[in-house]
Subunit: 396 residues, 3 copies
């Protein structure tokens, strides 16, 4: 479909993203989500046409990361830069959970001339998303009382509940791979736990995937060894989504059974949410000994499930023995990044470039979240850009 | 007053800021200070009108921080960004005081394509401001000898003597709160020491406040428990300023007496300058044991003055029981950030949003210092911006 | 020569830099090198004319530094900023050497919206340049397979073999000092080892200097105490270059003999390549005890050559007792930065401002490497900039 038509289609969506933070996909309507996918994809096309979508002459995009990250950090920086914002990192005491006056005050101090705040806070179960809402409430208060000239938007760059910039990138990848969102209906996608020799991997990716992919009529199967449950409330949301969208949602405890006839597979390790809860408690108490023991116990549990590796045998069970493999990266690759891991080296290598492409959508998804927050009518903005294109690189 | 008139008024001031670093407010004339307040306020209005004051197509703003800082760091970054400069942090060995060839050389190496250098160096008494002047002399030499294509300006982001971006923000806050600088004449402002369970807080804020607020006909009272003296030379300057401006300056040793009929109060902890001198000596010698003992002694002294808390009782003594409360933030709030602190929680809460607004002027003050350094006739520049406004955010 | 003529001269060069990384000067033709010198010098002139050469409306310049650096970091940041790119630092585990999948993947993740990657990796002999080529191959693969919208260029900001942004800055300094590249023919330049109380200084500067300066008909002499050899392959390259260019190349083991009739001297410390090889092995093994012993041995060896100081006595031996002194900075100055060092304080002071000027070319050299990578016909681009100049600073 040509660009003009795509922009027109965007304009017809009943999206209500203007002035609303992006914190959880399940707080957004299907139209909202479709609008973001469309804007992201148009921005990506603009890039290939050397059209600059810069709308800010100045302004800051603030990044708050409580966890190290190369991928998401670069994606956020790229998105800010694409729209004309400079990135300023906010380094907090990483080990502390700030509350109350500290959060309220800091939120203002970093926002006087800022347009967006990207937050990654995925370490403490029950805290990350709550913290984002505390920042949001502070910004609301500051704007309402004339402290801030406008209300900066917040983008969830990963929390304890959801990882919306990841899951939306994944969905755009699927949409483009299969040609349309329509084409995803009836496709079977398996979000499966996989073995990893590390511990404490966040739940936000599997939770984000099951909550989002059930929105568009897919048959979603969540598989994990007993004991590796996700947050129950989010699993419930996935079930309800599936019913509403005409898809299905199923939980099972066998990787090989789950893989049968899968169109798409997403094998990835995570820690059980109960472990994450205990971990949060121990971290809050500063119980170092307890943390060491919890890690040991968990790694022992993990070690019982080394057979949860996505390999050639598993692949053979999938549709046409060639399900689309997905991963948020970096994957734990057996024999490459560790002895035994989430995926066999030969299987990963087959889909390696695919996973890079999957990751490549993230900067545009973040930029789309920003653009739809800032403008009531993003289609109009994009149309204007297309009509009088300004080159990203001059003299081309 | 409308913008055009304000710009005209600015043009009529006899300010001589062009090409001069901003290191200490007492080196500047009243016209200089008024020009910076006016430019800052116009830039703030521009923001609300979506007018971009970007004047640099490229260029670096270098930040040198010897002390951690969220507030000032973001203010400097915002100011640079607003005018079109990218921020580049210069990380020095924080614990060392560089001199001589190292300073001379480094000053050039970071300045080849830089337009401003913002320096925060408030840890060592007798060193911070001196260091800025050493950098300034190096830049002069480099420019004079063709090493640098132009002379980057230096902005003092806090030193051992003054904190001009803070005090000027505070003054602009007062000017706008009371309507004009004229309206400040005869107002009583109390810069009072207050209890804090921490030690080694810099002197630059109280020194900056008494030296600046005495310039505009206010009645300034400095209050502290015996032994908590500021640098005598700066206290002398405050006294002379008051005489010249038709205001008054008084030092007292009782918080409650000082608060009587105060229009404005600024209760804030600091360490005695003699302690800061000792501390500098011990730091230079690397005498860790000495430092531990000094800290202990000081905290014990502090603890004798827990009654120096600004609370409801104190507030009742002020004009209409409602003096304007000011603070450079973060405040030590009793029962919130510490058990006993500088200010009672209920009092702070009443003026909380006010303190945020106070802080919100700082990015514009810094930008105004830069603009008046760069342009001989800033009024002309602002007039041109207003005449043909370029939007900060496109498609609005 | 006026700007138009210089741009025309640039257009006549048969440079083939478009789309090619800048990794080693000896992989480039004389025309390539001359084109970069010319572009850099034109950009520097543009700066003095307030012409902005910004060609990117957005885009990232990624910096990967495995070694601390103020000079090169600021030069890279300045070059990126000058052309319109925002700098994003990539912080890797500094002590690890990444290979294979990690490098391939990371190279994509940081490149989705990036235009250039600047890499400094000079710690491990045999690794730095190899790592750059691994990144380059990954970018090639990503671009070929549609992962990346364009192929970001790589600039070698110092590796184990060469330091091309340094040596090219040095060459431009010489070209401008003597008036032309032609004027360098027959000039004697001495790259001499000099004493330093530190150990493990990289080889890239002396190697870069002998390999580059032999390209343009100079008489290059490399002097060092026995045992302080450079990588033999690169010494061979220098010899071959000299033959081809009509200059000469000689190795000697006496500083004073080398200095006789020198036009230009470059006294600088380095560690023998065999020591660097051993060091790499020990670092790879994590043999801390071995490293301590190696350092001790080396410092003892160094100490035998304290007479390799460039001082007044040495200076007297040079042409007109006034050879042009060069250094990449910071120099180890006797009695200033250390007791005994590479250069006597009085001699250094005489040429101090010269060394600053020498350093000032680096940002422009880097920008020139970027511009010639990006555009097939940089002369055309510069001509267009000159014809319709856009001011770097508005309202001048």
């Amino acid at each position: 479909m040509n660009l003009k038509k795509r922009i027109k289609r965007l304009g017809n969506l009943d999206a209500k993203l203007h002035g609303k933070d992006f914190l959880l996909t399940w707080e957004k309507s299907e139209s909202d989500l479709m609008a973001i996918l469309e804007v992201a994809d148009i921005l990506k096309t603009f890039r290939s046409m050397n059209i600059s979508p810069r709308v800010f002459d100045s302004g800051l995009g603030v990044s708050i990361f409580r966890d190290n990250s190369t991928r998401t950090r670069f994606s956020f920086a790229s998105a800010c830069n694409l729209l004309g914002l400079a990135v300023q990192d906010m380094d907090e005491e990483k080990s502390q959970i700030a509350h109350g006056e500290t959060v309220r005050e800091t939120a203002q101090m970093i926002s006087f001339l800022s347009d967006f705040i990207g937050i990654r806070d995925d370490i403490f179960l029950g805290e990350g998303n709550r913290y984002m809402r505390e920042v949001a409430a502070s910004l609301d208060e500051g704007y309402a009382n004339g402290v801030l000239p406008h209300r900066p938007g917040i983008v969830n760059l990963q929390c304890d509940m959801d990882h919306p910039t990841q899951s939306m990138s994944d969905l755009l990848h699927l949409r483009n791979h299969y040609g349309s969102l329509e084409a995803l209906k009836g496709k079977k996608i398996v979000m499966s736990w996989a073995y990893s020799p590390s511990y404490g991997k966040p739940l936000s990716v599997p939770q984000g995937i099951i909550a989002l992919m059930t929105r568009f009529g897919m048959n979603v199967e969540l598989a994990y060894p007993e004991g590796y449950e996700l947050i129950p409330e989010i699993v419930d949301i996935a079930g309800k989504n599936a019913k509403k969208s005409g898809g299905s949602f199923k939980v099972s405890n066998s990787m090989s059974e789950a893989m049968r006839n899968a169109d798409i597979v997403y094998p990835k390790s995570w820690a059980p949410y109960k472990v994450m809860e205990q971990r949060t408690e121990l971290l809050k108490k500063g119980d170092k000994q307890g943390l060491v023991e919890l890690e040991k116990t968990c790694l022992n549990h993990n070690a019982k499930h080394k057979d949860w590796e996505y390999n050639k045998e598993m692949m053979k069970l999938t549709r046409k023995k060639d399900a689309l493999y997905m991963h948020c990266l970096p994957a734990d690759i057996s024999g490459v990044s560790c002895k035994n891991g989430e995926v066999a080296a030969d299987v990963f290598d087959k889909y390696r470039l695919m996973t890079y492409r999957e990751a490549g959508y993230k900067p545009y998804i973040i930029a789309a979240m920003m653009l739809t927050y800032r403008y009531d009518n993003p289609a109009k903005v994009l149309k204007a850009m297309l009509k009088e294109p300004y080159p990203r690189v001059a003299f081309e």
